[in-house]
């Protein structure tokens, strides 16, 4: 049995999904953070029942094709025909939430409503007549609290029973209100007209008819109506407009909301202004304040970066570094005493361990940064950021909503690129994706930390900061260029819900960090391990597979020497830096581990001058995103060629900028 979990954004859908399946995934409070369909098996007691699968659809407000996510959800339900729809509704915001429910009910698929956040409603003195609501809506309604895991067992038994017995929604006519007879008649006459087409396409005729009345072009194309039929429909709609005094699109929405208002007035004893709402409004008086809003945002970001890169993350990283160095030394001494072959010792210590170690020591910094970004998202602050920053982003042709994926980009480009699916226009989405790699991801941090601490002792923090700022400045330049030449026109409308602030779930946050740490460690032991060993191999042997006395004569040196001249104008045309840059394409962290492996014993001072070290940092902060990010970009653009083109253009851009900066620096320093 396949069950689609559908609901508005910010209604606790992902929390319910976790409660039902026990699967661990990210719960976000920014509208639309669920960017991919996630599937989980229903949890029964301690085991999971693999016969019952739940698909977590993106959070949507309607089944009209306004955003990509609405299209994804709608297509999924229409094409995949799940055995049932589990519709989650936020009881504390019931009117707007039920709007989607009415559309889902029209699909003629068995359906159950999970009325979430009932604890909040009760806490604030409200109540809901569940039985009457079930009757009026024609679908079973079960009150729950996903966050407290209340009512989940009952919900399970109700939906399993409903879906097994294939009980369809009992009410589909939502046009019982007083003066809306015109809409009712129009829907019914169109239902008859398109009956055969809907049957051909195997979709509910009721759903098809209301979409046609709404003027939904996707549906009209999908049904393959004849010119004659379209003309008759147009005539019906004109009649409708003159009868009810508004056009058909507004008339349908009006009809649905009237129906909902009627249901709500009969079943809901309204809460007074809820505590959560009051608190949120008060917090927003400060966080979105006319004068303090933006400085506070900058201060919060500053604090996040300070804590991640310095106070907590940075210091933990130093501790990690020392521990790892000591471990490698101990292993080396042990192996020497064991009288192991020196080449083998070199493979283990100089190849594998130091490669992995140099990357692993940055784990604390990365986790701390991720922790803060996810707290900002789950608490609902990211939505405020979008609201506060919208006007500024509009100047570069984007909307406030693009700001969130870009902030996530400071963590990792891959989820950032995927988060662009919440944007409602293809233009905004593509532009945002192109800008994301300019936000230095945490994987680049080890590079900045490593090189800056050696080449710029004392001012390494400042150097790192300058790279972040440079990335942002160049992103703005890029955005203006794109706006002028490639993606002309205005950005899409900005219409976004402000959810109430919520305290992020402790469990969810911890699980997210655990996933992230696991991800990073797995990467360290697979990609980085392999790259380190392979590079060690090529640098230890020459083409006749003799151990070389000087890496200069190794296979690696010979290959890299061939490419290195490209970087001569930037001041770092050595084969060692070239090799590091090439491995950086696999994973940015590798740049550090490879440099470390290649310069074992002599340090990197010999490779750079002050100016060329900075040019190298600029180049690494801007050149092609790693292979995982390029793959994500390719997916979102739906074109392999474009994905590669972006990677190449990005590298050319990086080369040019690094060149200019290097030449300028040369005028002042060496």
């Amino acid at each position: 049995m396949i069950i689609a979990l559908a609901g508005n954004q910010n209604c606790g859908k992902t929390t319910l999904f976790n409660a039902l399946t026990g699967s661990n995934q990210h719960v976000g409070n920014f509208p639309g953070v669920t960017v991919e369909q996630k599937i989980g098996s229903l949890k029964e007691g301690k085991k999971s029942n693999s016969d019952i699968k739940i698909v977590d659809l993106p959070g949507i407000y309607s089944l009209s094709p306004y955003t990509n996510e609405e299209i994804v959800s709608r297509d999924y339900i229409i094409r995949e025909k799940p055995d049932g729809i589990l519709n989650i509704v936020d009881a504390s915001n019931i009117e707007r939430n039920l709007y989607l429910s009415l559309q889902l009910a029209e699909l003629g698929i068995p359906m159950v409503i999970a009325l979430n956040m009932m604890d909040e409603v009760r806490e604030n003195g409200g109540s809901i007549d569940i039985e009457l609501m079930s009757k009026l809506l024609g679908v079973p309604v079960v009150p729950i609290s996903a966050a407290k895991e209340d009512g989940i067992e009952e919900l399970k038994s109700v939906f399993v029973k409903t879906f097994e017995n294939k009980i369809k929604p009992q009410v589909v006519d939502f046009c019982n209100s007083d003066d809306q007879g015109g809409v009712h008649r129009a829907i019914h006459s169109i239902m008859h007209m398109i009956e055969d087409h809907a049957k051909d396409k195997n979709i509910s005729r009721r759903f098809a008819a209301t979409k046609v009345v709404e003027g939904d072009d996707t549906m009209i194309d999908f049904l393959k109506l004849s010119a004659n039929e379209i003309e008759t429909i147009e005539h019906t709609l004109i009649e409708l407009t003159s009868e009810v005094g508004m056009d058909s699109q507004a008339a349908i929405a009006d009809m649905r909301y009237r129906f909902i208002e009627n249901v709500v007035s009969q079943t809901v004893i309204k809460q007074k202004e809820s505590k959560q709402h009051k608190i949120s409004v008060t917090i927003d008086k400060v966080l979105t304040h006319k004068y303090f809003g933006i400085p506070l945002f900058l201060a919060i970001m500053g604090l996040v970066f300070y804590l991640s890169f310095d106070l907590i993350g940075g210091n933990l990283t130093s501790v990690f570094e020392i521990a790892i160095d000591n471990m490698i030394t101990t292993v080396r001494e042990g192996l020497i005493q064991f009288e192991m072959n020196p080449v083998m010792i070199s493979l283990i210590c100089d190849g594998a361990l130091s490669g992995i170690g140099s990357v692993l020591s940055f784990l604390p910094t990365i986790l701390v940064l991720f922790l803060f970004l996810s707290l900002m998202e789950d608490s609902g602050y990211m939505a405020r950021v979008a609201y506060v920053m919208d006007k500024a982003l509009r100047k570069i042709g984007l909307s406030g909503k693009s700001f969130v994926p870009m902030l996530v980009g400071f963590g990792c480009s891959v989820p950032a690129v995927m988060a662009t699916r919440t944007l409602s226009s293809e233009r905004d989405k593509r532009m945002t994706i192109i800008l994301i790699p300019f936000m230095s991801c945490t994987a680049k941090l080890p590079i900045y930390g490593y090189i800056a601490s050696i080449m710029f002792p004392g001012i390494s923090g400042l150097i790192t900061l300058s790279l972040y700022v440079l990335g942002i400045v160049l992103a703005v330049v890029m955005a203006l260029v794109l706006k002028k030449f490639v993606y002309k026109g205005k950005s899409v409308p900005f219409v976004m819900e402000l959810p109430n602030y919520r305290i992020p779930g402790f469990k969810t946050t911890l699980l997210l960090l655990y996933d992230k740490a696991k991800d990073f460690i797995v990467k360290a032991f697979t990609i980085i391990f392999t790259a380190s060993v392979v590079i060690w191999f090529f640098k230890t042997f020459d083409i006749r597979f003799n151990v070389v006395s000087d890496t200069e004569y190794s296979i690696l040196a010979n290959i890299a020497k061939f490419i290195a001249p490209i970087f001569n104008p930037l001041g770092f045309g050595s084969w060692k830096t070239t090799t590091a840059l090439i491995s950086g394409f696999m994973a940015k962290e590798a740049v550090v581990s490879i440099l470390d492996v290649l310069t074992m014993g002599e340090g990197i001072n010999g490779l750079f001058t002050t100016a060329s070290a900075y040019a190298f940092l600029v180049f690494t902060s801007l050149y092609t995103p790693c292979v995982a990010a390029v793959a994500a970009i390719r997916n979102e653009f739906g074109s392999k060629r474009k994905g590669l083109l972006i990677a190449v253009l990005q590298s050319v851009y990086a080369w040019t900028v690094a060149f200019i900066i290097y030449r300028i620096l040369l005028m002042f320093i060496v």
């Binding site: 306004y66 707007r96 304040h289 609201y387 919208d390 006007k391």
Partner: protein, 91 residues
């Protein structure tokens, strides 16, 4: 007739019509900005745009540009999220 974008912070109105291009219009209607709904402008972003409005018991942010597609009748009422009650008072 007033545009929603012309209401000042703290002022309320009842929606008369929603215009603009089809997809934006559809989205606004879906979000509950249907004719005869009362809305209150409750705040303004630091840079003066977008604005925050309250309707149907929730908070929505919208740009002035997009809000200018919505025509309202300015009313001396305070939106409490219950449009029926509100409309009775107006009529």
């Amino acid at each position: 007739m007033t545009k929603l974008s012309e209401l000042k912070v703290g002022e309320s109105g009842v929606i008369v019509s929603v215009n603009g291009d089809k997809s934006l219009r559809g989205h606004l209607l879906d979000m509950g900005l249907t004719p005869n709904t009362c809305v209150r402008v409750s705040a303004m972003a630091p840079m003066g745009d977008p604005i925050e409005i309250n309707l149907r018991g929730y908070r929505l942010t919208i740009r002035l540009d997009d809000a200018s597609n919505i025509e309202v009748m300015k009313e001396k009422i305070v939106c409490n999220g219950n449009c029926r009650e509100c409309l009775k008072k107006v009529k």
